[in-house]
Protein backbone atom coordinates (compact mmCIF):
# COMPACT_ATOMS: atom_id res chain seq x y z
CA UNK A 1 0.00 0.00 0.00
CA UNK A 2 1.44 3.34 -1.03
CA UNK A 3 2.12 6.14 1.38
CA UNK A 4 -0.97 8.17 0.65
CA UNK A 5 -2.67 10.20 3.32
CA UNK A 6 -4.29 7.08 4.84
CA UNK A 7 -1.22 4.87 4.56
CA UNK A 8 0.86 7.64 6.04
CA UNK A 9 -0.79 7.32 9.39
CA UNK A 10 -1.34 3.58 9.37
CA UNK A 11 1.84 2.15 7.91
CA UNK A 12 4.65 4.52 8.93
CA UNK A 13 4.98 5.07 12.66
CA UNK A 14 7.37 8.07 12.61
CA UNK A 15 8.83 10.37 9.97
CA UNK A 16 12.16 12.08 10.59
CA UNK A 17 13.29 14.94 8.36
CA UNK A 18 17.01 15.67 8.20
CA UNK A 19 17.33 19.37 7.48
CA UNK A 20 20.05 21.95 7.34
CA UNK A 21 19.76 25.07 5.30
CA UNK A 22 23.47 24.92 4.57
CA UNK A 23 24.88 22.60 1.98
CA UNK A 24 27.71 20.19 2.61
CA UNK A 25 27.30 19.84 6.36
CA UNK A 26 26.76 16.11 6.07
CA UNK A 27 22.96 15.73 5.97
CA UNK A 28 23.12 12.68 3.72
CA UNK A 29 25.93 11.07 5.72
CA UNK A 30 23.99 11.70 8.92
CA UNK A 31 20.79 10.34 7.34
CA UNK A 32 22.51 7.13 6.29
CA UNK A 33 24.28 6.67 9.61
CA UNK A 34 21.03 7.25 11.50
CA UNK A 35 19.27 4.74 9.25
CA UNK A 36 21.96 2.12 9.89
CA UNK A 37 21.82 2.81 13.63
CA UNK A 38 18.03 2.46 13.73
CA UNK A 39 18.33 -0.81 11.79
CA UNK A 40 20.87 -2.13 14.29
CA UNK A 41 18.39 -1.26 17.05
CA UNK A 42 15.89 -3.60 15.41
CA UNK A 43 13.68 -1.04 13.67
CA UNK A 44 12.14 -1.20 10.20
CA UNK A 45 13.55 1.79 8.37
CA UNK A 46 12.91 3.57 5.10
CA UNK A 47 15.09 6.31 3.64
CA UNK A 48 13.82 8.83 1.10
CA UNK A 49 16.46 10.85 -0.74
CA UNK A 50 14.63 14.10 -1.48
CA UNK A 51 17.77 15.80 -2.82
CA UNK A 52 16.87 15.57 -6.50
CA UNK A 53 19.83 17.54 -7.89
CA UNK A 54 22.49 15.78 -5.88
CA UNK A 55 21.20 12.31 -4.89
CA UNK A 56 24.07 10.85 -2.88
CA UNK A 57 22.31 8.28 -0.70
CA UNK A 58 22.51 5.35 -3.18
CA UNK A 59 26.28 5.67 -3.39
CA UNK A 60 26.63 5.86 0.39
CA UNK A 61 24.59 2.72 0.99
CA UNK A 62 25.98 0.56 -1.83
CA UNK A 63 22.91 0.88 -4.06
CA UNK A 64 24.50 2.93 -6.83
CA UNK A 65 23.36 1.74 -10.25
CA UNK A 66 20.22 -0.06 -9.05
CA UNK A 67 16.84 0.48 -10.66
CA UNK A 68 13.35 0.79 -9.25
CA UNK A 69 10.87 -1.99 -9.96
CA UNK A 70 7.20 -1.35 -10.45
CA UNK A 71 4.70 -3.32 -8.36
CA UNK A 72 0.92 -3.62 -8.87
CA UNK A 73 0.23 -0.66 -6.56
CA UNK A 74 3.21 1.53 -7.24
CA UNK A 75 6.99 1.65 -7.13
CA UNK A 76 8.85 -0.81 -4.97
CA UNK A 77 11.62 0.79 -2.92
CA UNK A 78 15.12 -0.50 -3.52
CA UNK A 79 16.34 -2.77 -0.74
CA UNK A 80 19.83 -1.94 0.43
CA UNK A 81 22.07 -1.93 3.46
CA UNK A 82 22.81 -4.83 5.83
CA UNK A 83 20.76 -7.89 4.76
CA UNK A 84 18.89 -5.61 2.33
CA UNK A 85 16.81 -4.46 5.27
CA UNK A 86 16.65 -0.77 4.37
CA UNK A 87 13.91 0.49 2.00
CA UNK A 88 15.35 3.22 -0.12
CA UNK A 89 14.06 5.61 -2.78
CA UNK A 90 16.06 8.16 -4.74
CA UNK A 91 15.72 9.89 -8.08
CA UNK A 92 19.10 8.35 -8.92
CA UNK A 93 17.31 5.01 -9.40
CA UNK A 94 15.17 6.52 -12.15
CA UNK A 95 18.03 7.82 -14.27
CA UNK A 96 19.27 5.79 -17.22
CA UNK A 97 22.74 7.25 -16.68
CA UNK A 98 23.24 7.51 -12.95
CA UNK A 99 25.52 10.52 -13.22
CA UNK A 100 23.10 12.55 -15.38
CA UNK A 101 22.36 16.10 -14.26
CA UNK A 102 18.84 16.79 -13.04
CA UNK A 103 18.12 20.29 -14.25
CA UNK A 104 14.51 20.72 -13.19
CA UNK A 105 12.47 23.68 -12.20
CA UNK A 106 10.35 23.78 -9.07
CA UNK A 107 7.03 22.32 -10.30
CA UNK A 108 8.71 19.20 -11.65
CA UNK A 109 10.67 18.71 -8.43
CA UNK A 110 7.47 19.14 -6.42
CA UNK A 111 5.68 16.54 -8.53
CA UNK A 112 8.54 14.06 -8.15
CA UNK A 113 8.70 14.38 -4.36
CA UNK A 114 4.93 13.98 -4.08
CA UNK A 115 5.17 10.84 -6.17
CA UNK A 116 7.87 9.49 -3.88
CA UNK A 117 5.55 9.96 -0.95
CA UNK A 118 2.34 8.72 -2.57
CA UNK A 119 3.39 6.15 -5.20
CA UNK A 120 6.07 4.17 -3.40
CA UNK A 121 5.03 1.01 -1.57
CA UNK A 122 6.96 1.66 1.61
CA UNK A 123 5.16 -1.05 3.58
CA UNK A 124 5.13 -1.06 7.37
CA UNK A 125 7.92 1.09 8.71
CA UNK A 126 8.89 2.20 12.19
CA UNK A 127 10.80 5.19 10.83
CA UNK A 128 10.92 6.92 7.46
CA UNK A 129 13.95 9.22 7.24
CA UNK A 130 13.76 11.99 4.63
CA UNK A 131 17.08 13.47 3.54
CA UNK A 132 16.52 16.96 2.15
CA UNK A 133 18.64 19.30 0.02
CA UNK A 134 19.93 22.55 1.49
CA UNK A 135 17.63 25.56 1.56
CA UNK A 136 13.92 26.10 2.07
CA UNK A 137 12.33 25.69 -1.33
CA UNK A 138 10.12 23.52 -3.48
CA UNK A 139 11.47 20.20 -2.23
CA UNK A 140 10.94 21.09 1.43
CA UNK A 141 7.45 22.44 0.85
CA UNK A 142 6.56 19.36 -1.19
CA UNK A 143 7.77 17.06 1.60
CA UNK A 144 5.76 18.93 4.22
CA UNK A 145 2.65 18.98 2.04
CA UNK A 146 3.00 15.27 1.42
CA UNK A 147 3.36 14.57 5.13
CA UNK A 148 0.43 16.72 6.18
CA UNK A 149 -1.76 14.80 8.59
CA UNK A 150 0.93 12.45 9.82
CA UNK A 151 0.84 12.62 13.63
CA UNK A 152 4.55 12.01 14.24
CA UNK A 153 6.85 13.92 11.98
CA UNK A 154 9.77 15.79 13.33
CA UNK A 155 13.11 17.13 12.23
CA UNK A 156 16.74 16.99 13.19
CA UNK A 157 18.95 19.86 12.09
CA UNK A 158 22.54 19.32 11.02
CA UNK A 159 25.16 22.03 11.08
CA UNK A 160 28.91 22.41 11.12
CA UNK A 161 30.28 24.63 13.87
CA UNK A 162 31.32 27.64 11.74
CA UNK A 163 29.36 30.88 11.68
CA UNK A 164 28.39 30.67 8.00
CA UNK A 165 26.65 27.32 8.57
CA UNK A 166 25.04 28.32 11.84
CA UNK A 167 23.50 31.36 10.13
CA UNK A 168 21.78 29.22 7.53
CA UNK A 169 20.63 26.70 10.11
CA UNK A 170 19.12 29.51 12.14
CA UNK A 171 16.97 30.27 9.09
CA UNK A 172 16.03 26.61 8.81
CA UNK A 173 14.92 26.66 12.45
CA UNK A 174 12.63 29.58 11.71
CA UNK A 175 11.29 27.63 8.72
CA UNK A 176 10.49 24.73 11.05
CA UNK A 177 8.69 27.02 13.52
CA UNK A 178 6.68 28.65 10.72
CA UNK A 179 5.63 25.29 9.27
CA UNK A 180 4.85 23.70 12.62
CA UNK A 181 7.62 21.10 12.30
CA UNK A 182 8.83 19.80 15.65
CA UNK A 183 12.61 20.01 15.97
CA UNK A 184 14.06 17.17 18.01
CA UNK A 185 17.49 18.75 18.16
CA UNK A 186 20.66 19.94 16.49
CA UNK A 187 23.62 17.80 15.46
CA UNK A 188 26.98 19.51 15.11
CA UNK A 189 28.88 17.64 12.41
CA UNK A 190 32.58 17.84 11.43
CA UNK A 191 33.24 19.05 14.95
CA UNK A 192 36.96 18.78 15.42
CA UNK A 193 39.56 16.76 13.58
CA UNK A 194 41.90 14.45 15.46
CA UNK A 195 45.17 14.03 13.62
CA UNK A 196 45.79 10.28 13.17
CA UNK A 197 49.51 10.90 13.63
CA UNK A 198 49.82 12.95 16.79
CA UNK A 199 46.22 12.86 18.14
CA UNK A 200 46.15 16.67 18.29
CA UNK A 201 42.60 17.95 17.78
CA UNK A 202 42.21 20.87 15.36
CA UNK A 203 38.87 22.66 15.05
CA UNK A 204 39.12 23.18 11.32
CA UNK A 205 35.49 24.25 11.05
CA UNK A 206 35.44 26.00 14.40
CA UNK A 207 33.88 24.65 17.56
CA UNK A 208 30.68 24.91 19.49
CA UNK A 209 28.62 26.83 16.95
CA UNK A 210 25.89 24.21 16.88
CA UNK A 211 25.76 23.95 20.66
CA UNK A 212 25.52 27.74 21.03
CA UNK A 213 22.72 27.88 18.49
CA UNK A 214 20.85 25.13 20.32
CA UNK A 215 21.15 27.06 23.61
CA UNK A 216 20.18 30.34 21.98
CA UNK A 217 17.06 28.84 20.40
CA UNK A 218 16.17 26.59 23.32
CA UNK A 219 16.52 23.43 21.23
CA UNK A 220 18.09 20.20 22.41
CA UNK A 221 21.75 19.79 21.47
CA UNK A 222 21.97 16.17 20.37
CA UNK A 223 25.74 15.98 20.16
CA UNK A 224 28.92 16.59 18.18
CA UNK A 225 30.20 14.32 15.47
CA UNK A 226 33.93 14.56 14.75
CA UNK A 227 35.43 14.99 11.30
CA UNK A 228 36.37 11.47 10.30
CA UNK A 229 38.40 11.09 7.08
CA UNK A 230 37.67 7.37 7.01
CA UNK A 231 34.06 8.17 6.05
CA UNK A 232 35.11 10.01 2.88
CA UNK A 233 37.77 7.41 2.11
CA UNK A 234 35.21 4.60 2.50
CA UNK A 235 33.27 5.86 -0.49
CA UNK A 236 36.35 6.70 -2.53
CA UNK A 237 37.49 3.10 -2.17
CA UNK A 238 34.19 1.86 -3.66
CA UNK A 239 32.86 0.64 -0.37
CA UNK A 240 29.85 2.04 1.43
CA UNK A 241 28.90 3.01 4.95
CA UNK A 242 27.12 -0.23 5.62
CA UNK A 243 30.24 -2.33 5.11
CA UNK A 244 32.78 0.10 6.55
CA UNK A 245 34.62 -0.91 9.72
CA UNK A 246 32.14 -0.17 12.45
CA UNK A 247 32.39 2.17 15.38
CA UNK A 248 34.78 4.82 14.23
CA UNK A 249 34.36 8.02 16.30
CA UNK A 250 31.73 9.45 13.92
CA UNK A 251 29.65 6.26 13.86
CA UNK A 252 29.74 5.98 17.64
CA UNK A 253 28.57 9.56 18.09
CA UNK A 254 25.72 9.12 15.60
CA UNK A 255 24.61 5.86 17.17
CA UNK A 256 24.25 7.63 20.49
CA UNK A 257 22.26 10.41 18.75
CA UNK A 258 20.07 7.77 17.08
CA UNK A 259 19.22 6.29 20.49
CA UNK A 260 18.12 9.69 21.78
CA UNK A 261 16.02 10.35 18.67
CA UNK A 262 14.40 6.94 18.84
CA UNK A 263 13.36 7.51 22.45
CA UNK A 264 11.83 10.90 21.56
CA UNK A 265 10.00 9.58 18.50
CA UNK A 266 8.64 6.59 20.41
CA UNK A 267 7.26 8.87 23.11
CA UNK A 268 5.60 11.09 20.51
CA UNK A 269 4.17 8.03 18.70
CA UNK A 270 2.75 6.62 21.96
CA UNK A 271 1.14 9.95 22.78
CA UNK A 272 -0.31 10.17 19.25
CA UNK A 273 -1.75 6.65 19.55
CA UNK A 274 -3.47 7.28 22.85
CA UNK A 275 -4.94 10.66 21.84
Amino acid sequence: MALNSDGLQKRVRCVLLVLSGKGGVGKSSVSVQLALSFLSLGKKVGLLDADLCGPSIPLMIGAHGKNVQRGPDGWLPVRAGPSASLSLMSVAFLLSNKDDAIVWRGPKKTAMIKQFLSDVQWGDLDILIVDTPPGTSDEHLAVLEGLRGHPVYSAVLVTTPQAVSVGDVRRELTFCHKTGTKVLGIVENMSGFVCPHCVECTNIFSQGGGESLAKECDIRFLGSVPLDPSLALTLDKDRDFSCAATEGPAEAALRHIAEILLKEMNEDANVAQTS
Binding site: G21, K22, G23, G24, V25, C53, G54, S56, L59, M60, D99, D100, A101, I102, V103, W104, R105, G106, P107, K109, P133, P134, G135, T136, S137, D138, H140, L141, T160, Q162, A163, V164, S165, G167, D168, R170, R171, E172, L173, T174, F175, K178, T179, F193, C195, P196, H197, C198, E200, T202, N203, I204, F205, S206, L227, P229, A232, L233, L235, D236
Partner: protein, 314 residues
Protein backbone atom coordinates in the same frame (compact mmCIF):
# COMPACT_ATOMS: atom_id res chain seq x y z
CA UNK B 1 -4.91 3.16 -41.75
CA UNK B 2 -1.65 4.59 -40.68
CA UNK B 3 1.99 3.72 -40.72
CA UNK B 4 4.14 4.99 -37.90
CA UNK B 5 7.53 6.30 -38.98
CA UNK B 6 9.96 6.43 -36.11
CA UNK B 7 8.33 8.04 -33.09
CA UNK B 8 7.50 11.47 -34.39
CA UNK B 9 5.65 11.11 -37.67
CA UNK B 10 2.65 9.16 -38.88
CA UNK B 11 1.88 8.49 -42.52
CA UNK B 12 -1.85 8.20 -43.12
CA UNK B 13 -2.92 6.31 -46.19
CA UNK B 14 -6.25 7.73 -47.35
CA UNK B 15 -7.26 5.01 -49.78
CA UNK B 16 -6.23 1.67 -48.37
CA UNK B 17 -8.25 -0.25 -50.96
CA UNK B 18 -5.82 0.73 -53.72
CA UNK B 19 -2.77 0.08 -51.62
CA UNK B 20 -0.40 -2.55 -52.99
CA UNK B 21 3.03 -3.70 -51.89
CA UNK B 22 4.61 -2.05 -54.90
CA UNK B 23 2.93 1.25 -54.27
CA UNK B 24 3.91 1.08 -50.58
CA UNK B 25 7.55 1.54 -51.38
CA UNK B 26 6.86 4.47 -53.71
CA UNK B 27 4.67 6.24 -51.21
CA UNK B 28 7.17 5.65 -48.43
CA UNK B 29 9.99 7.10 -50.54
CA UNK B 30 7.93 10.23 -51.20
CA UNK B 31 7.05 10.56 -47.54
CA UNK B 32 10.66 10.18 -46.42
CA UNK B 33 11.76 12.82 -48.92
CA UNK B 34 9.16 15.24 -47.62
CA UNK B 35 9.89 14.60 -43.94
CA UNK B 36 13.21 16.51 -43.34
CA UNK B 37 11.67 19.72 -44.67
CA UNK B 38 8.55 19.27 -42.57
CA UNK B 39 10.54 18.21 -39.53
CA UNK B 40 12.76 21.26 -39.64
CA UNK B 41 9.70 23.50 -40.05
CA UNK B 42 7.99 21.63 -37.24
CA UNK B 43 11.05 21.97 -35.03
CA UNK B 44 11.27 25.68 -35.64
CA UNK B 45 7.58 26.07 -34.90
CA UNK B 46 7.95 24.11 -31.66
CA UNK B 47 10.96 26.19 -30.65
CA UNK B 48 9.01 29.38 -31.30
CA UNK B 49 6.06 28.17 -29.21
CA UNK B 50 8.23 27.04 -26.32
CA UNK B 51 10.24 30.24 -26.46
CA UNK B 52 7.20 32.28 -25.57
CA UNK B 53 7.37 33.36 -21.98
CA UNK B 54 11.07 32.56 -21.63
CA UNK B 55 13.28 35.45 -20.57
CA UNK B 56 15.21 37.24 -23.29
CA UNK B 57 18.94 36.96 -22.77
CA UNK B 58 20.59 40.35 -22.66
CA UNK B 59 23.96 41.56 -21.38
CA UNK B 60 24.08 43.72 -18.28
CA UNK B 61 24.93 47.32 -19.19
CA UNK B 62 28.53 48.11 -18.39
CA UNK B 63 29.42 44.57 -17.30
CA UNK B 64 32.02 43.03 -19.59
CA UNK B 65 32.23 39.45 -18.35
CA UNK B 66 29.94 37.39 -16.13
CA UNK B 67 31.44 34.27 -14.57
CA UNK B 68 29.42 31.68 -12.68
CA UNK B 69 30.98 29.93 -9.69
CA UNK B 70 29.09 26.68 -9.24
CA UNK B 71 29.55 23.26 -7.76
CA UNK B 72 26.55 20.97 -7.75
CA UNK B 73 27.46 19.80 -4.26
CA UNK B 74 26.84 22.02 -1.27
CA UNK B 75 29.45 23.01 1.23
CA UNK B 76 32.52 22.59 -0.98
CA UNK B 77 33.47 26.26 -0.63
CA UNK B 78 31.81 27.98 -3.58
CA UNK B 79 31.15 31.22 -1.72
CA UNK B 80 34.58 31.28 -0.09
CA UNK B 81 36.14 30.60 -3.49
CA UNK B 82 33.99 33.21 -5.25
CA UNK B 83 34.91 35.86 -2.67
CA UNK B 84 38.63 35.12 -2.71
CA UNK B 85 38.71 34.84 -6.51
CA UNK B 86 37.00 38.23 -6.82
CA UNK B 87 39.55 39.80 -4.49
CA UNK B 88 42.45 38.02 -6.15
CA UNK B 89 41.37 39.15 -9.64
CA UNK B 90 41.27 42.72 -8.34
CA UNK B 91 44.61 42.29 -6.56
CA UNK B 92 46.29 40.90 -9.69
CA UNK B 93 45.26 43.95 -11.71
CA UNK B 94 44.23 47.04 -9.73
CA UNK B 95 42.81 48.61 -12.91
CA UNK B 96 39.96 46.09 -13.17
CA UNK B 97 36.67 46.46 -11.36
CA UNK B 98 34.99 43.36 -9.97
CA UNK B 99 31.48 42.69 -8.69
CA UNK B 100 30.02 39.78 -6.80
CA UNK B 101 26.42 38.58 -7.02
CA UNK B 102 25.22 36.17 -4.36
CA UNK B 103 22.66 34.05 -6.22
CA UNK B 104 22.11 31.71 -3.28
CA UNK B 105 18.69 33.05 -2.40
CA UNK B 106 18.02 30.58 0.41
CA UNK B 107 21.43 30.55 2.08
CA UNK B 108 23.21 33.81 1.27
CA UNK B 109 26.77 33.72 2.61
CA UNK B 110 28.35 36.72 0.89
CA UNK B 111 27.26 39.30 3.53
CA UNK B 112 29.18 37.44 6.24
CA UNK B 113 32.19 36.61 4.08
CA UNK B 114 32.52 40.20 2.86
CA UNK B 115 31.62 41.77 6.23
CA UNK B 116 28.70 43.65 4.70
CA UNK B 117 25.29 44.37 6.13
CA UNK B 118 22.47 46.83 5.78
CA UNK B 119 19.84 47.59 3.19
CA UNK B 120 20.99 48.75 -0.22
CA UNK B 121 20.07 52.28 -1.26
CA UNK B 122 17.89 52.94 -4.26
CA UNK B 123 19.17 55.24 -7.02
CA UNK B 124 17.03 57.87 -8.71
CA UNK B 125 16.58 55.38 -11.57
CA UNK B 126 15.00 52.99 -9.10
CA UNK B 127 17.94 50.62 -9.16
CA UNK B 128 19.50 49.01 -6.10
CA UNK B 129 22.96 50.27 -5.30
CA UNK B 130 25.32 47.38 -4.50
CA UNK B 131 27.15 47.42 -1.17
CA UNK B 132 30.90 47.75 -1.51
CA UNK B 133 33.67 46.41 0.67
CA UNK B 134 37.33 45.77 -0.11
CA UNK B 135 36.64 47.40 -3.51
CA UNK B 136 34.14 44.73 -4.59
CA UNK B 137 30.54 45.67 -5.38
CA UNK B 138 28.20 43.07 -3.89
CA UNK B 139 24.53 42.21 -4.02
CA UNK B 140 22.88 39.48 -1.99
CA UNK B 141 19.46 38.44 -0.73
CA UNK B 142 21.14 38.61 2.66
CA UNK B 143 21.03 42.43 2.44
CA UNK B 144 17.27 42.37 1.96
CA UNK B 145 16.19 39.97 4.70
CA UNK B 146 16.91 39.54 8.40
CA UNK B 147 19.62 37.23 9.70
CA UNK B 148 17.29 34.52 10.81
CA UNK B 149 14.58 34.98 8.19
CA UNK B 150 14.22 31.97 5.92
CA UNK B 151 13.32 32.53 2.28
CA UNK B 152 10.54 30.00 1.83
CA UNK B 153 9.95 30.57 -1.83
CA UNK B 154 9.06 28.29 -4.67
CA UNK B 155 10.97 28.35 -7.91
CA UNK B 156 8.95 31.09 -9.61
CA UNK B 157 9.64 33.63 -6.89
CA UNK B 158 13.28 32.62 -6.74
CA UNK B 159 13.56 33.25 -10.50
CA UNK B 160 11.97 36.65 -10.11
CA UNK B 161 14.34 37.60 -7.27
CA UNK B 162 17.35 36.55 -9.31
CA UNK B 163 16.18 38.62 -12.25
CA UNK B 164 15.86 41.67 -10.02
CA UNK B 165 19.30 41.15 -8.50
CA UNK B 166 20.77 40.92 -11.98
CA UNK B 167 18.95 43.63 -13.85
CA UNK B 168 17.70 46.06 -11.25
CA UNK B 169 21.04 46.68 -9.64
CA UNK B 170 23.21 49.64 -10.59
CA UNK B 171 26.33 47.55 -11.15
CA UNK B 172 28.14 50.33 -12.97
CA UNK B 173 31.04 49.54 -15.26
CA UNK B 174 32.51 46.19 -14.24
CA UNK B 175 35.21 44.12 -15.91
CA UNK B 176 34.09 40.97 -14.09
CA UNK B 177 30.90 40.02 -12.31
CA UNK B 178 31.27 36.76 -10.39
CA UNK B 179 28.02 34.99 -9.58
CA UNK B 180 28.08 32.73 -6.54
CA UNK B 181 25.49 30.06 -7.31
CA UNK B 182 23.65 27.85 -4.82
CA UNK B 183 24.26 24.09 -4.76
CA UNK B 184 22.29 21.96 -7.18
CA UNK B 185 21.27 22.38 -10.80
CA UNK B 186 17.85 23.97 -10.83
CA UNK B 187 15.85 27.16 -11.16
CA UNK B 188 18.59 29.62 -10.27
CA UNK B 189 21.12 28.08 -12.66
CA UNK B 190 18.69 27.87 -15.55
CA UNK B 191 17.37 31.38 -14.95
CA UNK B 192 20.87 32.83 -14.80
CA UNK B 193 21.80 31.23 -18.13
CA UNK B 194 18.55 32.42 -19.69
CA UNK B 195 18.80 36.01 -18.50
CA UNK B 196 22.44 36.91 -19.17
CA UNK B 197 25.25 35.66 -21.40
CA UNK B 198 27.85 33.91 -19.25
CA UNK B 199 31.49 34.16 -20.28
CA UNK B 200 32.24 30.95 -18.45
CA UNK B 201 31.69 28.81 -15.40
CA UNK B 202 34.15 27.78 -12.70
CA UNK B 203 33.27 24.52 -10.95
CA UNK B 204 34.33 24.13 -7.32
CA UNK B 205 34.63 20.72 -5.72
CA UNK B 206 36.37 18.85 -2.96
CA UNK B 207 38.45 15.82 -4.03
CA UNK B 208 36.01 13.16 -2.82
CA UNK B 209 34.13 11.13 -5.40
CA UNK B 210 30.75 12.12 -3.96
CA UNK B 211 31.45 15.81 -4.61
CA UNK B 212 33.03 15.16 -8.00
CA UNK B 213 29.93 13.29 -9.20
CA UNK B 214 27.86 16.40 -8.49
CA UNK B 215 30.56 18.59 -10.03
CA UNK B 216 30.30 16.51 -13.19
CA UNK B 217 26.52 17.10 -13.18
CA UNK B 218 27.07 20.84 -12.87
CA UNK B 219 29.60 20.86 -15.69
CA UNK B 220 27.23 18.84 -17.88
CA UNK B 221 24.42 21.28 -17.18
CA UNK B 222 26.54 24.22 -18.32
CA UNK B 223 27.62 22.38 -21.44
CA UNK B 224 23.98 21.61 -22.27
CA UNK B 225 23.07 25.29 -22.14
CA UNK B 226 26.14 26.35 -24.10
CA UNK B 227 28.14 27.97 -21.28
CA UNK B 228 31.88 27.23 -21.54
CA UNK B 229 33.30 25.54 -18.46
CA UNK B 230 36.59 27.26 -17.66
CA UNK B 231 37.77 24.55 -15.28
CA UNK B 232 37.66 23.24 -11.76
CA UNK B 233 38.95 24.51 -8.44
CA UNK B 234 39.74 21.61 -6.12
CA UNK B 235 39.03 22.91 -2.64
CA UNK B 236 39.97 21.42 0.75
CA UNK B 237 42.58 19.40 -1.10
CA UNK B 238 44.61 18.39 1.92
CA UNK B 239 45.07 19.20 5.59
CA UNK B 240 48.38 19.66 7.35
CA UNK B 241 48.27 19.18 11.10
CA UNK B 242 49.56 22.39 12.72
CA UNK B 243 51.21 20.30 15.42
CA UNK B 244 53.11 17.58 13.64
CA UNK B 245 52.69 18.71 9.98
CA UNK B 246 51.33 15.32 9.03
CA UNK B 247 49.31 15.59 5.82
CA UNK B 248 45.81 14.06 5.84
CA UNK B 249 43.50 14.06 2.86
CA UNK B 250 40.33 14.40 4.88
CA UNK B 251 38.10 14.66 1.83
CA UNK B 252 39.93 12.14 -0.29
CA UNK B 253 42.59 12.50 -2.94
CA UNK B 254 40.85 11.15 -5.94
CA UNK B 255 42.29 11.58 -9.40
CA UNK B 256 38.78 11.81 -10.80
CA UNK B 257 39.06 15.60 -11.13
CA UNK B 258 41.37 15.10 -14.08
CA UNK B 259 39.24 12.27 -15.39
CA UNK B 260 36.27 14.65 -15.64
CA UNK B 261 38.08 16.31 -18.50
CA UNK B 262 38.21 19.65 -16.74
CA UNK B 263 41.28 21.83 -16.38
CA UNK B 264 42.31 22.06 -12.76
CA UNK B 265 42.53 25.80 -12.22
CA UNK B 266 43.87 25.51 -8.71
CA UNK B 267 44.06 23.40 -5.57
CA UNK B 268 43.23 25.14 -2.32
CA UNK B 269 44.38 23.41 0.86
CA UNK B 270 42.14 22.92 3.88
CA UNK B 271 43.53 25.32 6.40
CA UNK B 272 41.99 26.62 9.58
CA UNK B 273 42.96 30.19 8.65
CA UNK B 274 40.54 30.18 5.67
CA UNK B 275 37.61 29.35 7.93
CA UNK B 276 38.75 31.79 10.61
CA UNK B 277 39.12 34.62 8.13
CA UNK B 278 35.74 33.79 6.57
CA UNK B 279 33.99 33.85 9.93
CA UNK B 280 35.65 37.18 10.65
CA UNK B 281 34.53 38.67 7.35
CA UNK B 282 38.05 39.32 6.11
CA UNK B 283 38.87 36.84 3.35
CA UNK B 284 42.24 35.08 3.45
CA UNK B 285 43.49 36.87 0.33
CA UNK B 286 43.37 40.09 2.32
CA UNK B 287 44.11 38.78 5.80
CA UNK B 288 47.26 36.80 4.95
CA UNK B 289 48.18 37.86 1.41
CA UNK B 290 51.57 36.19 1.40
CA UNK B 291 50.39 32.88 2.80
CA UNK B 292 50.16 29.65 0.81
CA UNK B 293 46.37 29.69 0.85
CA UNK B 294 46.09 33.25 -0.45
CA UNK B 295 48.69 32.54 -3.11
CA UNK B 296 46.70 29.51 -4.22
CA UNK B 297 43.70 31.78 -4.83
CA UNK B 298 45.84 34.40 -6.58
CA UNK B 299 47.30 31.76 -8.87
CA UNK B 300 43.84 30.36 -9.59
CA UNK B 301 42.45 33.83 -10.35
CA UNK B 302 45.26 34.46 -12.79
CA UNK B 303 44.43 31.22 -14.62
CA UNK B 304 40.74 32.10 -14.74
CA UNK B 305 41.45 35.51 -16.25
CA UNK B 306 43.86 34.04 -18.84
CA UNK B 307 41.25 31.43 -19.86
CA UNK B 308 38.59 34.08 -20.24
CA UNK B 309 40.87 36.23 -22.38
CA UNK B 310 41.75 33.23 -24.53
CA UNK B 311 38.09 32.35 -24.97
CA UNK B 312 37.23 35.95 -25.86
CA UNK B 313 39.97 36.20 -28.47
CA UNK B 314 39.07 32.87 -30.08
Amino acid sequence: MGIRLGVKARLVICCPEVFTAGWTQQYLRCAVNLLPRHFSTLKEHQKKLMGRGLPKQAPLPGVKRIVAVASGKGGVGKSTTAVNLALAIAANDPKVSVGLLDADIHGPSIPMLMNLSGNPEVTKDNLLRPLVNYGIACMSMGFLIGDSQPVIWRGLMVMSALEKMLKQVSWGPLDYLLVDLPPGTGDVHLSLCQHVPLSGAVIVSTPQDLALIDARRAAEMFRKVGVPVIGMVVNMSGFQCPNCHHQTHIFGESETAKQLGLDVLGEIPLHISIRESSDRGKPIVLLLPGGAEALAYVHTASKVVKCLERMASS
